[in-house]
Each structure stands twice: as C-alpha cells, then as structure tokens.
Subunit: 395 residues, 2 copies
Amino acid sequence: MGGAWPEVVILGGGFAGLAAARVLERARVPYLLVDARNHHLFQPLLYQVATGFLEGPAIAYPLRALVRRGRVLLARARAVDLEGRRLLLEDGDVLPYRHLVVATGSLPSDLGVPGVGERALLLKTLGQALRVRHRLLMALERAAREGAPLSLVVVGGGPTGVELSGALAEFLRYALPRDFPEIPEARVVLLEAGPRLLPAFRPALSRYAERALAHLGVEVRLGAQVAAVEERGVRLASGEGLVGDLILWAVGVRGNPLPGLPADARGRVPTDPYLRLPGHPEVYVVGDLNGLGFPQLAPVALQQGAWAAGNLLRALRGQDPLPFRYRDRGQLAVIGRNRAVAELWGRGLAGFPAWLLWAFVHLRELVGFRNRLLVFLDWAYTYLFREPGVRVLPD
Amino acid sequence: MGGAWPEVVILGGGFAGLAAARVLERARVPYLLVDARNHHLFQPLLYQVATGFLEGPAIAYPLRALVRRGRVLLARARAVDLEGRRLLLEDGDVLPYRHLVVATGSLPSDLGVPGVGERALLLKTLGQALRVRHRLLMALERAAREGAPLSLVVVGGGPTGVELSGALAEFLRYALPRDFPEIPEARVVLLEAGPRLLPAFRPALSRYAERALAHLGVEVRLGAQVAAVEERGVRLASGEGLVGDLILWAVGVRGNPLPGLPADARGRVPTDPYLRLPGHPEVYVVGDLNGLGFPQLAPVALQQGAWAAGNLLRALRGQDPLPFRYRDRGQLAVIGRNRAVAELWGRGLAGFPAWLLWAFVHLRELVGFRNRLLVFLDWAYTYLFREPGVRVLPD
C-alpha cells in the first residue's frame, strides 16, 4: 500500500462513520475512512429510488468528496484482530490502528423465515434499490404482455414498509393508465404481523397511516405473520397463501458485526456507556451496530458517531470519556406524495404539515449541494407532473 | 400473448425506429414497437454518462412514455421469417406482421483485432457506459491505494474517440487533485490509425481538434494502428507496447442484422432506393443497419425512419413509394467542456461558437421535457462548478 496510513481508523461511511469523521476533520486529526463502497448512502430515501421517483446518484455521495483532511480506502474488512490492534482486509492486506471506530451498520434479517434469502427483495443498499426498480419494471412488462393482474406484497409495517407501499401505490396509480393499460388489475398489499402499523409511534398516528394508505389503494393486513416466502407469493402463519409477483422484505434488521467482535443474538455489539468495547477502550462501536439498546435510526447513528469521536479526542488529550446521552428529536414516516406522520417534542403530527416537516428535514440532512438541488428538482417535478421519472432498465 | 398485435411492426426503438413510430402516430396507424430494452437511448451523449458528467436516466427515456397510439413489446427478436412474414422471438413466441420496419442499428466491431472482446471497453449501450464509469472509478481507487500512475487509452479518432478522450481528460483534471491526490501521474492517450483525427471533417478542423485535445492534456498519437489488446495495454502494429489501465474501444461499427436478413461484409442490409428489402416490399430497413452507404449517423437514422414510414403509409393508400433523399445538415464533434468542431452548410466552424451550436442541437433533440431539463441542469452545474456529479459505484 502507498505510504503510511493514519493511526485513527473509521470503518464504515454511513451516518455514524461520517459523523465521527466530521468531528475529527474539525479537530484536524488525521484519520482513515475504510468502506467497501465509495459512497455515503442517504438510506431514508432509498425507497424512492426503488420506486423510480429518484435517481440513484441523487441519494449517494462519493466519500472522497466528503473527506478533505482524512484519507479514504475502498476495501472490505474481513475481521478485526483486537489483541494485535489491526484490521484484516479481504484482499489479504493488514491495517494497523491505534484507535478504531466501528460503524458497519446493519443488515436485513430474514427472522428465520424460509425463502426470504432466495425470493424476497431487500432494500438496504443502492444496488438493492436498483434491483427492486428493475424487478418492478420487468414485472409490469410481463403482466402487460400476458394481460395478467399484478400483485406486489410488502412485508413489514414499520416506517420502511409504510413508505415503500405508499410509493408503490402512487407509482402504479401513475404508470398503469398511461404506460400499461393492458394490465387489468394491480394490488399493493402491506403485511404487518402486529396489531398496528408503525408500532414505534402513538396509536392515533398508526390509525392515520392505515387510513392514508387505504386511501392510496394499499391493502393493509394487520396480524398477518409471514411463515414462508414461496415461489409465487407468501404463506401466512394462518395457512393462507397470498399471490405476489414481487415480495419486498421490509422487516428485521440485525447488526452487521465484524468477525473478531463479540455480538449478541441480534448481531449487535455491547459497549460501555462511553461507546467503547469493554476491555478495549481504543475501539468504539457506534450506530446500528451498537448494542446499548437505542433504536436503529439515523439520528442515533449521527449522535453516536460524533460522540465517539469526541471521546476519542478526549482520550488523545488525556481526558476522561463522557457517557453517551441521546437527544431524542422525534421520528417521521411518510405516506405517499404529501402525507406523513411525526412524533416530535412529545407531540403527534399527521397529514400535510408532517409531510412538509419531513421534506424539510430530509432536504436539510442530504449531504452535498448538488444532491440537495437535484433531489429538490426531482421532487418538484414529480409533485407538479406526477410522473416517476426513472423508469429505465439498463441492459 | 394478450390480444392481437397490430399488423405494422417496428423492430428497434433507436432514432430510426422512433422516427418511424412518430410518423405512424401522426397518421393514426396502429403499430407495435418491439425492443429488447425498455428505453430509447440518446447515444450522442453516452460518453458523458461514461465519464460521470451525466446520470444514465438523463439520456434514456422509457419507450412506453413515448408511444401513445402504438403498443410496446419488450422482447428480443431471434430471427425474421421473411416468407412466413413473422418475427421469431427469443422466448419462443412468434409475431406475425403485414409490414415490418427493421431498425436494429449497429454494434461495435473489433475489426479483427485480437483481445478487443475480452479486454477493451465498448460504448454503445447504457449498460456499457455505466460499466466504463465503474471501471474508471475502480482504476482510480486502485491507483490511489498503490500510489501508482494511471493510463487511459482510447482507440479511434472519430467523433466518439475525440469526445470520450476530451471528457476523460477533463474528468481527471477535476478529480485527481481533489479526490485522488495520491495518484502521482495520469495520462489519456488517443490512438488513431489514420493520418488525422475526425477524417469525415475537413483537415483544418482535424488540426483544431488535435490542438484542443493536446491543450486538455490528451496525448494524440496519429498513424498508431492497434494490433492487439493485451493484459495491461495495447500492442501497436509497429511492435511498440503501450500500458493502459483501461482500454476504450471507439472504432469500428458494424450493422446488427437480424438472422434471416441478407447482410453485406459490414453487417449492413442492402435495400432498394425506397429503403425496402429487394423482393420484400413489405420490409423496410433503416438507420445504421441500412446498406445504401449513408454514414452511420443519427440524422440519417432519423430521416430514414421517417421516410420508410412515409412509404409504408403510401403503400397502405395504394400509392407508389418515393426514393430516399438525404438532407445533409452537417456534423458536429465536441472537445471538452466548451469547444467543438462543426461542418455545416458547407462551412467549417470551430471553438466556442461550435460548442454552443452543439449544445443547442443536442438539447433540442433530446427526447422529453424532463430529460431536457435535467441534462441542462447537469450541464449548467458542471459548467459552473466543474464537478462531474456522478462518481458513485453502486454495489
């Protein structure tokens, strides 16, 4: 490898890793950011890429363009050697560190349901979002050719499932009459195992989300536990079979731990209150991977990444670390083109005002001027003309 | 297949096929457009997608959104049965026709040079452009990691090679100092077998293009015939070896004939002056595939597609066909961000005025409002901030 690498290593360029990098940039501490991908991904808008409302690069930003004082290494880590204080890379190289921030995030989990890995579509990476879009367009072409009905099944009534099923319903409402008049009928079914959608929100907002999705044409099925994903649909625990041309799996996130790190049953790594690995104060674990029990949400990842970098700076200065405190700023979920629900400052908010808030928050957080501008224009265009722009299948 | 298909079939949704479709739309004649891809591709800007200056969907538009009175079938044709008047599809289906317009375009040709198929990158489809971008970004990451020099070799001094090497040089000029300071040196080499670049233009414009490319940092090598593409570069006919981390093949286009059609040595299908297959007046062959000897350029394809559809309408009305007349409106090639050369109304034009003309012509021809707007914004952004926006590797 060319030259010596910095002694502070951040593994992962998601929300948590980038938040840590920013703190180090401001403190002028050299660091190395290692990621298997060359971009930061704005995951909260991934479902809009999957449904053709946004282009992929609008929500992805090159890490090298974000990092100015640090360095970037495009590499996949195979394991960490905690005693030897080094990362083992998949290509055989070895990367020593003095301080390590592990921010490898989370992976979809099949929750032990058979058939998920082979037959369901996931939505966690840019590649997966583009695959969903590709499969969606191909399913429409096939249904049009055969004059057959189309059925899309989304599993999971959390924010991802709600956002995805709403966007799918709006996509179909636009695309069917104009582009695919041959398709006689198209359904979007949202399956939730529990008694209500959005269980992390207050019940009134769950009910609002259910009504708003029904208004968009989504069939919401509560108490519908999926027992298996089969060749052409899903099998419920009740024994009932549901036909689905596409099965989108929006439940079950588990930590994406690095071999060499201790992990709990959900793949998350327990830390002390300072976000450090017990027995290894030089290793910080932040974001979705952290096992302290905070929700796996972007605000937690942003705050933990910055907090860990702050403690790292304190350690460099010989100061004691501070225990992590989460400032809960609330949560949001969007339903279709101009409705959302929000929990904020202890209050519930629903409808267009919540959507405006959602749009504002996401545009503000999107990294990079170009992205903000393009996302805004894409949104504005879709909003004015109701046309999902990206309906292209690359070959 | 669902329902009966129209009796007029257009095979291929490129410039020629779409131009034919538009004439039929206006005449309210039902038709079926068959393509293996779901989008029309604006090929003249493909090199900008390859170099990250434009996003893929900005130059691709869904066929279903372009076709209102006709129908679209996403399918690959395996062969034509001229006697039986039917198309054989790759999936086994059979498509009868009464009139057929064949507009399957052209493919890159290796010109018999060994190693091209395995080791060179082509630039004819959206998928290929995205692959070039991916390989370019990966080559930069590898060179940065190893602190090694980078060499990009473009083969072919026609418009595509000139545009591509100019865009690569500008991409490197932007990206190296900001994102890849670890790379000590990067070259772009343009190889042309003949004595000058842009042989279809007047010699003064060739010399202008050579100077303008040299100004951008492109090493132009004339009289450099490639004998083989090897593991890590190219071998010239002189015996000289040239190192290349990427080899981009921008020479040699041959017709993409359909089995069942007679084709000449260059893969092109001879027709009568009315653009019809001899002995089969119900079959028209247009665009790059037509063997009448016109240049393989977008304006020819647009005019032939429309002309063939005009003759088809005349046949439906019992009128005699008209022989194809080409209205030569000139040609353009762009060199970098704000220079171009043009042959127009018998005159040569070079520099910024030619570039303005180029930008105007391309924006005017780009299909669809959204694309025009997005391409314009992408251009404006790059022009103002000099940043190729798309540097994201999807996984």
